[in-house]
Subunit: 340 residues, 4 copies
């Protein structure tokens, strides 16, 4: 995409054009398929009007239109960069960002008002102060506002710089305001993003927790607390989950899939609803066995700090985990003589 | 406003002036009306002395004064940008910002002291180090301070750049201090803004919660917790609140207004104090019906994550919601045969 | 101080010098007084060795030393800017900042290590890539590091700019790393500052709370919670605390001082341990009376949102406040006929 | 390292080379030792494949390879700056940062996607708008992207500045987007870093708390709460922990080591499991005695604000501390006559 512009040899250029035409064709085909009216369904109109559909149309249409209108091809193909918008469908964080912005709209709006007021006042002041000395740079209000924007965002190109004493004092205040505006913006976005993220994780983890019988039977308040602590982990098959001898800092609940605990005489297989890695948490030592997934698996991870905080308030879990650990240890002990 | 400055044709200019005079007249009229002494009331003096009144006066007076004093009209009309200050009355966030600044005054003050100390020390050091090599840029302390401000705020115009080795080392430290000062400022403003925002939302939501009988009857601790979780939503009439088939991520309590649940045989209308959207939360599926407002309505929204966390600790709400849902479902079932 | 440098007329300059000598004399005198050995006390040595004493010495000594050594007076007097350090004794936030830095030393250190590593790698890479094209700007590693510092802190003077394609790609990555380093620094400082601030407020408020009998008699857990919610307010005498007719958003506990509630027939005076402003919180209306301090007073403020959250969990306070409000209202009622 | 580049005299240069060869030799030796296969152990292969081993190899290999390939020595030795990477083994914060980045990968990824989209759209727009006026700076998409990167990160070199009106409006929007992206990045990294730090501190403190019998006997929920409040402090021998007469703001639990409380008649020694500094917290006055370590010691510090908040909810600790304080006071009283 970026190659369309610089001075290239003619053949590279033509190959690129062919590639671009192919992409255009493929995307058009994809769009037609997706939006094709299916009998008995009323979703096709939805697709073209949905956010994803609009982006697809927006990415496709401009190029042929530009070529038809007579724009030179070099310029027209630049519109291919709009294809990048299709990426947004794959970035889950973007919808999150959208929600944060809509939720915090009022705060963001008032920061924007502050931004605009400082901008206009600073632009006006500098225009009055500097237009005599630097007519080319502060001679009109728009020029002056351009300076104000670069300064307030602390970008500071340096193409227009105040030269009078008062102008510089005001510029210094604008910069400090810039830091403040920046701080507010950061605070609002960061707080909103964090809260929204936590909410989304909670919902996803809740579904996973209810699939583990061992956790599902806790009392509701404990489940809520645990849902906030757990973290999801997806692993491919034949991946090492914990390695023997490494320090243990968390335990694992199996939501789906299967793992193999590589114990000495004979490995044990654990399926959905089981847990492992609890010995390191209970006794504080290194991992006693290597655990490997046999099929693609999903786990819920409980960190050692959360485990301790949680079991202190909910001794049931600790007791249950300990009972299971003891049971498993004695089973292994019992098996070991047989196995050898 | 911005049009007054660039090179314009004479007729555009004169039209603009007429427009500006009209605005000036209107604002004066508005100010006079608002501050007119009403018999039996002592509020008129208050208005002129209040923040809003002061801003009004500040936005109006300078222009006639400037014209009388003999300032050329182009400059005088620049003062019209002060009218922008009147916007502040409409931005609720500004009063919030004012409160944050007054509450965090001590923290902000000490950050400012740090800023000033670093500024002066850096300015002095660079003046000593660079004045020999660049007298035009570091030859006096104010010039040197100008450099220090642009550097400490990480604006970096590049009009004055240290050239000695030691000067550059100090400049690097100033930049890092700048990041630190920035971080502190961001932290203080962001924390204060977030806390103040939450407080304001709490008060507003509290009033709304007490208007929903269903919520008002919970125990006080639960009301407080719920008030922190709920979010307000205002919708115009004939707006779709939830759409059938979409994933459900929250439930709605009607504070005021009315909605129509578009059920198959016959739509149901729900008034203030009712709730809807709970089925998606209880069963986790998509929305089962489209809901549309009939008049402008205000809702309180409870997210699914908050609903689960809350009902785990307060099973009463879950039971009540479930009972209502069952009642409504059976009512619909009962009606369906009749309706068809 | 700043006036010593620019081109000034000789008489202004000499007046300034006299002023500066006076200041120097005064500070020396002050230092001698403070550090004079008092009989029977061993604190004098402490003073010179304490932070405040060291700053005093550091601010005084350099100037005479510089003059004796033969430095030209203009330069020597620049050291007067060190007097600014004495300001630090008045900024309570600085000791706070010091504590934050010492508590978060490990985090800050690791951010600094990241900063240095990125700096050196970027400096080295750019030196290799750009030295052929721009020997004056990237010809040596220190020059290259100077560029890296200005870029990594996003200051961007623009005095040295990479021109090769690869150099610019690396520069872009350095800028993004800069944003990241910045973010970490901001996060660490902001979190630490906020936590430390809250801790300090808690200790101060605790002392004040224990002076209000009404609050002291709550159960300990409630006191802790309340201490976190209250905010201190110091007002001079004859200052309006609440104004009649304004919306009420908080109530006040008097820690020390006295206020006059300007009720209609006869004003009431309230002393330490009393509270006022509770009617607006209980009933949600505007202030019913203006309250003015008679002597300098200290209050503890409880916001309406905190009041509601707190009383929901601790109904005792609400009942006590309500009882007092009723008692006061009936007393006023009873007095009114008498008063007129 | 940095000395290899500038114009130096030949002898300094040769000495430097010898020094560098020595370092190279030492590091090679160190690497060989560490990775030497030990009989009966399978860890040697692990070392070379572990993160630390990879860094060691990465720091060593490039230099000889470069020299062999025929790169001029000045350039080859620049690779010595890779030795800096070995520092990372000593910075505990780096592994923390690594974990934060892996945990927040999804959020960071979506911020990056936003960054890239804004970048490409801005680059394309500016290329179209400015290429006519400034072909040297915006003539190709890569050039235009370079401008977009410097602007979006608010670095603002000023080497390429838009000159058309529309170009500047877009540039202003890019700068504001830059602030937003920055804010998101800061928020994600700061939140993640803080959470991870707290988790790590919790685990470390837990181990220490369980070594103090006095704390270990509290109920589990109290231990969890206390573990979150305590802070670790390591001091060398003969260091003053608290000084008589200073205001007291925390109490100390001795995890390991020994201190001497310098009481008047005869100093007392306290060993692991003891605590001191509680009088200032219980009574609010200054420290009553100086305490000095006799051997290197580890303490857990409980701030006064946390002490009050904790004891309000857990009166047991307060009672126990008070009982111990009384016992100690009476013991001292009893000893004083004897001692003299």
């Amino acid at each position: 995409m970026a190659m369309t512009v610089p001075d290239l040899r003619a053949d590279v250029r033509s190959w690129l054009q062919i590639g671009l035409w192919c992409c255009l064709g493929f995307f058009t085909f994809e769009l037609v398929i997706r939006s094709w009216p299916r009998p008995g369904s009323e979703r096709h109109s939805n697709y073209l009007l949905s956010a994803a559909g609009l982006i697809d149309v927006l990415a496709l249409l401009p190029i042929p239109v530009a070529l038809l209108v007579g724009v030179p091809p070099e310029t027209a193909w630049l519109l291919a960069s709009l294809w990048l918008l299709k990426l947004t469908n794959f970035a889950p964080g973007l919808s999150l960002l959208g929600r944060v912005i809509s939720l915090e709209a009022k705060s963001l709006e008032s920061v924007l008002v502050i931004f605009l007021i400082v901008l206009l006042l600073a632009g006006m002041a500098l225009h009055v102060l500097e237009r005599a000395g630097q007519p080319a740079k502060f001679g009109s209000l728009p020029l002056s506002l351009w300076w104000a924007v670069t300064t307030l965002t602390t970008t500071g190109y340096g193409d227009a710089v105040p030269e009078t004493f008062l102008g510089r004092v005001i510029a210094a205040m604008v910069m400090i305001c810039g830091l403040g505006v920046f701080g507010l913006l950061t605070g609002i976005l960061a707080t909103g993003f964090t809260a929204e993220h936590r909410r989304r994780d909670f919902i996803r983890n809740w579904d996973l927790v209810t699939r583990v019988p061992f956790l599902r039977n806790l009392n509701p308040a404990a489940i809520v607390e645990l849902t906030r602590m757990l973290r999801r982990l997806d692993l491919a098959e034949r991946t090492v989950v914990v390695r023997r001898g490494r320090p243990g800092d968390c335990m694992y609940f199996i939501v789906s899939g299967e793992v193999e605990v590589q114990l000495e005489p004979r490995p044990i297989r654990l399926g959905p609803g089981s847990f492992f890695g609890e010995i390191a948490l209970l006794e504080g030592g290194p991992r006693t066995a290597t655990v490997v997934t046999t099929i693609p698996s999903t786990f819920l991870i409980l960190e050692v700090s959360d485990f301790r905080a949680f079991t202190a308030l909910n001794p049931d879990l600790a007791r249950a985990v300990e009972a299971e650990a003891t049971r498993r240890a004695s089973a292994t002990m019992g098996k070991t003589p047989e196995g050898q």
